[in-house]
């Protein structure tokens, strides 16, 4: 994926703007948040013995939640990453007033929100002071050439330049102020970044920590479900392949041998022909079993790795395959090798069965920590990943390995299947 990279100077300018705005706006918001929340909280705790305290506390928690939501919206540009909102505990539908008031109070995140509202302003105030100082120093210093001459300068005043032992002239004053301004200006991006990150990291820990864990868990759950589903699909297919293939052939073989035994007595010539046929059946059964076991766990994949296994696969394909595998791919983890192999195997099976393609291309590229596997054909298109299609099982399998599967197959073709898998 090609990202358009703006030139570094523009990036620094933009980040200074983002960080400064974050800090400058953050201070008044935090102040309002603190005042509102602490007032409600104190009032709520104070009146808790009478039951009036409960709704007031709930109001405090909800107020803190509003300010937490505002901060979560403001975080991403500073942290350059998403700030997910945790799932708040909600009262089950139809529950009474008290239950509704209690459930936010029983939510751990509510108290983290409250902590954020009560203590967040401290860091934000410090950051605000530094950022305002630096901007003032930088802007004031470098513009001193304009305003310095208008400052009244009584003869008994001792400016910094005099204290430093420099001559008491306008040029010296302007020179010194400009130099100080330049130092502020040069360090401005660094200082602003630092004082934006300090409160931002504090907020992130309090406001999105739980959500990040929740997201990771649901991501893992999704992967586990995909793995279970992929396994069930694979087993069902294996059963069907055995049933439709070798099992049928063996029954036919038994039938033919039974016939041959019957024929031996009265028509030895026919018996010979039947036995010849039966021999043919055993050969085909063996071929089928070989193909089947290769489909379950191709030995060459375990022995020689992905590149060799794909070369073998491409060699057996009915449709001519142009195979490009990155030269120094080396060995990957078994699950990634397996998944990549099955993506290609399944895609090629589909190409052979449905696409009516004249040729297809297989590309395996490693870009950073991603392994990209692409299969393109020039067939009629119309492939689907809907349930019940072979590609649905494949999508599950890829997801189980922590990757993604994309399919583009307009009617009329071409069809492109692209899997991205994580590899370290």
């Amino acid at each position: 994926v090609n990202e358009t990279r703006p030139n570094p100077v523009a990036r620094i300018f933009r980040q200074v703007g983002v960080d400064s705005a974050y800090v400058l706006v953050g201070f008044p918001i935090a102040l309002v948040g603190f005042v509102v929340t602490i007032t409600l909280f104190a009032a709520g705790v104070g009146t808790l013995v009478t039951t009036i305290g409960v709704p007031i506390l709930a109001a405090a928690v909800y107020a803190a939640r509003v300010f937490a939501d505002i901060e979560r919206l403001r975080l991403p540009p500073v942290l350059r990453q998403a700030a997910p909102r945790p799932r708040y505990r909600t009262a089950p539908p139809g529950s009474g007033v008290w239950r509704r008031l209690w459930s936010p109070l029983r939510d751990g995140q509510s108290w983290l929100d409250l902590m954020h509202a009560v203590f967040g302003w401290i860091l934000k105030t410090i950051s605000f002071c530094f950022v305002v100082t630096w901007w003032a120093g930088a802007l004031g210093g470098i513009t001193s050439i304009i305003w310095e001459r208008f400052i009244p300068h009584p003869s008994d005043s001792k400016d910094l330049n005099v204290l430093l032992g420099m001559s008491d002239t306008l040029a010296a004053r302007v020179g010194l102020d400009t130099a100080i301004g330049a130092v502020f200006l040069i360090t401005l991006p660094l200082v602003v970044r630092l004082f934006a990150l300090i409160p931002a990291q504090f907020d992130r820990a309090l406001l999105t920590g739980i959500a990040e864990v929740q997201n990771r868990i649901s991501g893992l759950e999704e992967r586990r479900e995909a793995a279970v589903s992929a396994e069930a699909t694979a087993l069902r297919r294996l059963e069907r392949d055995i049933h439709d293939g070798p099992q049928q052939r063996l029954v036919r073989l038994a039938l033919d041998l039974g016939r041959a035994r019957q024929q031996l007595d009265n028509d030895p010539g026919a018996a010979r022909a039947t036995i010849e046929e039966a021999l043919g059946q055993t050969r085909e059964t063996l071929d089928e079993l070989r193909a089947l076991s290769r489909g379950i766990a191709p030995p060459i994949l375990a022995d020689r790795g992905l590149a060799s296994a794909l070369a073998a696969l491409a060699g057996r394909s009915v449709v001519p395959v142009g195979l490009t595998v990155e030269a120094d791919l080396g060995r990957l983890t078994p699950i990634i090798e397996n998944t990549a192999y099955f993506v290609v195997a399944e895609a090629l099976t589909n190409v052979a069965k449905h696409s009516q393609a004249g040729m297809c291309g297989v590309d395996v590229i490693r870009a950073g920590s991603r392994l990209g596997v692409t299969v393109i054909d020039d067939g009629v298109g119309g492939a689907q990943t809907a349930k019940g299609h072979g590609l649905a099982g494949l999508a599950d399998r890829v997801r189980a390995a922590g990757g993604t599967l994309a399919l583009s197959s307009p009617t009329g073709g071409p069809t492109e299947i692209r899997a991205e898998l994580p590899c370290e």
């Binding site: 049928q248 041998l257 039974g258 024929q263």
Partner: protein, 210 residues
Amino acid sequence: VVADDAVLLREGLIRLLEENDHQVVAAVGDGPSLVDAIGTHRPDVSIVDVRMPPSHTDEGLRASVQARRLVPGTPILVLSQYVEVSYADDLLADRRGAVGYLLKDRVAEIADFLETLARVAGGGTVLDPEVVAQLVVRRGRAPLDALTQREREVLGLMAEGTSNTAIARRLVVTEGAVEKHVKNIFTKLDLPPDEEQNRRVLAVLTYLRG
């Protein structure tokens, strides 16, 4: 009529039948065409595979039940890679007899297979020994413990739909001895004695199914 979606097996069966002086009037590969073929040809017997398109599940079984509603009592021999008691229950539900349910492997014993086919065509009920074994296991041991080893063998063969004569031949005893065993079994299990083969099988099966 022969119904099986695997062409390989269908051809094999057709050849086997034709070599043994039977005539195959229709060979089909899915459920709906089986029902059509039975309706059109009214065959002496149909051989049906359980798993067929379009559903690839128990299509053959459901088509058989449907065909028997259309042509009551049309004889059907169901073949399957697996035998399951619940499938057998579906077939026996209409209590008209003329049904068989065998593992596919049994076709290799050609003489037995043809005999079974003739029995189903003649209105008999034939179940695979596997089904009977499952039924016996499911029924539990207690009442069967009262039977002698020999009587249990006879019970199994009865459930499979074997006639007294065939039981006598299989166990290498006289027919009189078999009759005595059968009478003992019916007395011990408290079943109504019945000489007609189809009803006898059903009685035994009803007992086994508990």
